[in-house]
Symmetry: C3
Subunit: 268 residues, 3 copies
Amino acid sequence: VTPSGIITLSSDFGLSDPYVAMMKGVILSINPSAVLIDLAHMIKAGSVSQAAALIHETFVFYPAGTVHLVVVDPGVGSGRRPLAVQAGGHFFVGPDNGLFWPVIERDPEASLVHLRESRFFLPDVSRTFHGREIFAPVAAHLSMGVALERMGTKIDDPVRLSLPELRVTGDTLTGQIVRVDNFGNLVTNITAGQLWLFLGSGPFRIVVGNFEILKISGTYADGEQGEPLALINSSNVLEIAVNLGRASEYIGVRDEEIVGTPVRVIRA
Amino acid sequence: VTPSGIITLSSDFGLSDPYVAMMKGVILSINPSAVLIDLAHMIKAGSVSQAAALIHETFVFYPAGTVHLVVVDPGVGSGRRPLAVQAGGHFFVGPDNGLFWPVIERDPEASLVHLRESRFFLPDVSRTFHGREIFAPVAAHLSMGVALERMGTKIDDPVRLSLPELRVTGDTLTGQIVRVDNFGNLVTNITAGQLWLFLGSGPFRIVVGNFEILKISGTYADGEQGEPLALINSSNVLEIAVNLGRASEYIGVRDEEIVGTPVRVIRA
Amino acid sequence: VTPSGIITLSSDFGLSDPYVAMMKGVILSINPSAVLIDLAHMIKAGSVSQAAALIHETFVFYPAGTVHLVVVDPGVGSGRRPLAVQAGGHFFVGPDNGLFWPVIERDPEASLVHLRESRFFLPDVSRTFHGREIFAPVAAHLSMGVALERMGTKIDDPVRLSLPELRVTGDTLTGQIVRVDNFGNLVTNITAGQLWLFLGSGPFRIVVGNFEILKISGTYADGEQGEPLALINSSNVLEIAVNLGRASEYIGVRDEEIVGTPVRVIRA
């Protein structure tokens, strides 16, 4: 894979602290012509599953050979391994805590390297900020064409991520809400493929919180204003929305409990 | 107009979702040397008028030939047309919902194209995310010099934006607060030109919420700490501020109701 | 110092207003190949000390010759001088209000210039937005190699920043919390050097809010979940944290009062 020269950055560092800017400085000090793109820094602190979903959903839109630096690293300084991955035609750098499992899982050719070659790190590695001292410099070197294999030891036992799975009992397929987006739309873990395979062509209802929805709409502007609707979103999963409203405010579930709320698809 | 190679991005996508990063990936996959600049992504969900004002206020500071991608698109997937505009020496891409009206209105030479040539789009166009599938790729192609006319059909009936207008009754000019900035300053829709034309050189008072202000100050640091003041801001409109304080907290109007609050300029 | 072509931007403008995007447009209109990196725009409105600490902590990670544009400028339009500084191998541009004092203080060779040559400014300078009209264009010109000295008059009396100092009384060293980071960690103003010089090798306790901590840990993952711990952070200062928790929520001090809370290190 030839590097594209682009490095995306994702973290749970937020936008008030200097940590992201430090990583960018480190990268530009090694590769002054790297193109840096912020993917997301508002990931919930320590939420490996949220970060894993975001990067998996987004990386395919980037040119092959892009380096994706992801620092959601609650175990920094403990035993967890620093990791670089080549998979799906892209590079991924971050802690070995499940972040890249959805990407690795889908590419039988994925190569994984436990980062051990300290000449590709900053000279002083603290125990509290590997994003700056290990992952950013490694990302910079990968973006310049240094081969993954030179950076450490091959491994084949990455930490896996256990994501919530779908359950089928009788005529009911049960998934859950995994994310609320900026518009209050409720993103589920039920893909279009799973949905249609389960439903076939008969009638059905979708029950989530106090919503009961009887069809799949084409877009947000379908239906009456304020009415709940279900659609297949642009990432190809079932999403619950309200036309010109925030579904998260109408669903009748407390904000903190929306993620995880069951979504039941019932064959009529 | 020769493209500058710069693309600005504005949206109501916020900073937690992957949508902006997806659009950037799409652009860089088409034009790897595009320079991407975030203009604003914290626009109120669906607020076409806020986005229109921001882009109109800001685009002039960019080099001629810059492409401005603006995705505030509550009607995505319904009948509204996808649009590209060349006006004021710049390019604008987004839904035809009024976003670019303030720019179009001021340039009698503006060209408008209803985007129809799907070879400039992503191969699969969903009904829910035209920002990624139509507007981002079109912006990328424009930044590489593809002529606007090749991308669709010329139109001359864009959706207009109806913005709040000023009213003059007797000795009173009435405008309103259109935006609260990060410092709590209250931006009005009364331009410096309109203000001086109305006032001439006589005495006056400005009444807004529980403020009564008797002069135009030169800068925020004029006057006593905590005192309300009026000034002509850097975008050349009347702004209400409080020296070393947040005007929005002193004005005596509830936060949700500040935008829209009447601003009365009264000749004494 | 040869310019690196990189310009970092810091401000208290937040992410909803167009002010940052305007500054970027001005820079790119002068130097189209400048590389623009956001350092931080969520600095508390008017907080010169917060901005000064952030920039001082971060600039060293950038290549020599980088220009750091910092606009936290509560006195804009009043008498305060516009300033450009060359120090520590980097350039700094912003108001003369103490922002760059920590950088200047550490470099006896620092050159400071009161910006007066209006040919390096935008043609019209308002009294309310020098970030756009003076500092952004000056940063752009510096990034293209225009010599600092050509931009104004040398000065040697910059405004100093008075930062909270440490106090030693008997067996107690007292500092304070200066920042709460995105993880709820409490950053103090006690450097590792000062701590070890004071403590030597004997036993001690650290008292802050309702925490009492008896040792320095190596990383956040040390100790029991929910237990307060002290460590030397990646910027080499004493930091108070809670393993897998937000120290700011456990310390027993109201949010608004955490910054400034005394941190006492007591020799046992």
